[in-house]
Amino acid sequence: MFDAVARNLPFLIGGFGVTLQLTFCALGGGIALGMLVGLGRISRKAWVYQPVTVYVNLIRNVPLILVIFWFYFVMPIIAGRPLNPFLSAVISFIIFEATYFGEIFRAGYQSISKDLVNAAYSTGLTYSQTARYILIPIAFRRMLPSLITQSIVTFQDTSLAFVIGLQEFVRRTSIVDNLEVRSIQLFSFVAIVFFIFCFIGSKISRHFEEKGRKTGVL
C-alpha cells in the first residue's frame, strides 16, 4: 500500500533530516532571541520597549511565508552575494519565532508575584541570588508547557521553507509525487509522520502542565 513511500524512503528520510536541522537551528536561535525580546517587552525604558514592541507587532501581523521571501531577497543585498537558502530560512525562522517565544517569556517573567521576590529579598538574598534560585527556576517551570507547544509549531512551520526551494521533508515528498503520482500514499505519509511527532510532543507538554499544577508552581 505504501510502496511508493518504501521505494523512496532514503530520499524522504533525508528530507526529514533537513527538517529536523531547520527545527533545531530555529529553536536555538528563536528561544535565545525570545528571552531577550521578553525582557524588552517588560522593560520600563522607552528606548528598549518601543522598538521591541514595534518589531513584535509587525512580525505577528505578517505571514511567515512572506518573511521567508523577504529575507531571501534582503540577505543577498546585505551580504553582497547570493545566500545559501538554508541560512536564509533559518534567519527568517529565528526572527519570526522569537516574537512568539518572546511573549511566552514575557508572561513567565510577569507571572512571578512581586511579593515572592520581596519575600526572598526580606531574607537578605541579593538580586542575583534571587534570580538564580527563585525567579529563573520558577519561571522556567511555568513556561515549559508553552515552550514545548511553540516548539511544535516551529517544527510544523519549517515546512514553509519549501518556497525557497529548500529540500526539506515536504518538498522531497512533492518531488517524489511528481515522479510517481502516488499522491495519496505520499502525502498521507508526510501527514502521519508529522502527526506522530506533534502528538507526542503535545502529550509531553500536557504532562509538564499537569506536573506544574500539582506542585503548585503553575
Partner: protein, 238 residues
Amino acid sequence: MGFAYDFDWGVLWRQPYGMWLLQGIWLTLKIGFLGWIIALFLGILIGTLRVTPWRWLRFVSTAYTEVFRNVPFLVQLFFWYYAGPMIFGENLGRQINQIVGLNYYMAIFALGMYTASRVAEHMRAGFASISRDQYQAVLSTGMTHSQMYRYVIIPYALRIILPPLTTEFLTIFKNSSIAMTIGVAEITFMSYRIDAETFHGLEATTGAMFIYLVLGLTVVRVMGIIESKFKIPGMIGR
C-alpha cells in the same frame, strides 16, 4: 557599504504590477472570508460535539481536532489538492483535476477545515469557562440539554471567545498566503511574481508586508466594534 542594488519602489504601483497586487488583495480577501465562514460553522459544530453525552461523537470531535492541529497546514493543503481528487478513483480524479480554479476551491476548503479545528478548541475553552452552576441553573428551569445549548450556552460561549476568535480571523488571512504554493494568485503570490518579472522582490515583499499590516489592523478594528456590540456587561474585557 555600497549596495549593488538600485531600489525601485515604483513596482508597487506601476502597471501592470499595481493591478496584480490589487487582484492579489481581492483574492486574499475572498479566500479568507469564505474560509472563515466554513471554519465558523464547522468549528461550532465540532466544538459542540465535544460536549455531547455520546462517547463516539466526542471521539470524532477530539480526533478531528488532534489530526488537524498536529499536521502542518501546508501538508494539509497539498493533501487535499494533490491527493484529494485521487480519492475518487483514477477516472473521476482526473476529471476533477481539470476543473478550472480547482486550486482556489481547494484553498478555501483546506483553510476552512484547518481553522475549524482551532475554532472548535476555542469553543471547548468557552464551554469550560462557563460555571457548572450556570448549566444547572438553566436546566432547573425545565429546558432540555439541546435547548440549553442552543438558546443559552452556545451564544454565551461565543461571546466569551470573541477575543481569541479575532486572533483566528487574523490567522486565516495569514495562512491564506500558503495557498500561493498551489498557484492561487493572492498577495504573496503576486509579490513573488513581481520579483520574477522585475527582480525587485525586496520592494514587492515589503509592500506586501505593509498590505498585510493594514489588513490586520482593519480586522482588529472591525472585530473590536463587533466585540463592543456583543459584550457581556460586567465581564472583564480585553
